[in-house]
């Protein structure tokens, strides 16, 4: 780290004291923000896990009849697709993210001639697509929160490792120099006084 240049004045000491005071007040705020972001990210990760479990449960539930989806008379793949994932903006831990609302599906009209299982398959696919869309939104939220967390961590480090120690060193050095100067002035004054007497 390069040697910092210090102005040995009372004004500079006052400025460094102000920096120290502000930094000591800001550090706990950033630490709290860091903690809050970490808690939020963990909670979103837990939500994702729960949704994954729900997807697995649906797959397990459909397992006994999943073979019918390969019915050579019906191409169910063309009957459903996602048109749009609808979200709304919210602030989570001070970060603007998109909250999942619903999925707008393109569902083809199920003709009367199509077998009954098609209805069940469409229902299952809608549910799984909705859950996957929810996961996608939550993953995007985590990405944004992690970005913010990196910035906050950088600030915490800046205050902990640079601003506060530097201000403390500067105050100590300035005080020492000012004290030395004061002593020197007093001693000089005494010598001058003795000589004149």
């Amino acid at each position: 780290m390069p040697e910092m240049k210090i102005k040995y004045t009372k004004t500079e000491r006052a400025r460094q004291k102000k920096i120290l005071k502000v930094s000591q007040r800001m550090l706990p705020l950033f630490e709290a923000m860091e903690k809050s972001l970490m808690v939020t990210i963990n909670s979103i990760a837990e939500q994702i896990e729960k949704i994954q479990e729900a997807i697995e449960r649906n797959n397990e539930k459909a397992k006994p009849w999943i073979s019918v989806l390969n019915d050579e008379w019906v191409d169910v793949k063309d009957l459903i697709s996602v048109n749009e994932i609808i979200t709304h903006p919210v602030d989570i831990a001070g970060v603007r993210v998109h909250q999942f609302e619903k999925v707008d599906f393109n569902v083809e009209l199920i003709g009367d001639e199509l077998p009954l299982w098609v209805d069940d398959a469409i229902e299952l696919m809608q549910e799984q697509l909705k859950l996957k869309a929810e996961i996608k939104c939550l993953e995007d939220q985590i990405a944004l929160l992690e970005e913010e967390l990196l910035e906050v961590r950088a600030r915490v480090k800046l205050f902990e490792n640079r601003r506060i120690p530097n201000a403390k060193i500067a105050i100590r050095k300035i005080s020492q120099k000012l004290q030395d100067d004061e002593r020197l002035t007093i001693a000089t004054a005494k010598v001058v006084k003795n000589k004149t007497e």
């Binding site: 999943i66 019915d71 793949k77 001639e113 077998p115 299982w117």
Partner: protein, 167 residues
Amino acid sequence: MSQLVYLISSLPSLTFGEAPPLTIDEFLQEAKNQLSNKRFQKLEQFSLQHFKNGDGKGKLKKFTTLIDELQADMIEMRAARKQKRSPHPINLSKSIIEMNPLERELAIIQWQWDELSSMEVGATFTMTELIVYKLKLELVHRIYSFNEEQGAKVLESVVNPSQKLED
């Protein structure tokens, strides 16, 4: 007539739920080679997969009526499901509703199979028997296409569209 007897005699037997012994194309090619144009066209027009209302005469007419009723049952079951009420089907048993989609489909196919089998009675070496064979062959092929691994891939291809379906 002798051609019809020869063709029917040469066809492998079909069993519900077992692997199809020949493809629909192989069957049609064989029929085309053996039958007159008129008979072949009649055979070609019958299909459960591409069913049209009002096809057939006599026993086949009865069958097309049953298929019409089956479609009406399906409409009724769909409507009941939407309206959250118990359905009132004509031919299908109410217990079908409780089944899972695969069991339900198999039960419907079994019902179609049984109806086709009853049409065969007393129709040995006739066009009716040949048409019934074709329709049963379609059913056997359909049941055979129900495959757990492939079905899961179909679901995956819709739920994760980036994942391509392997044919």
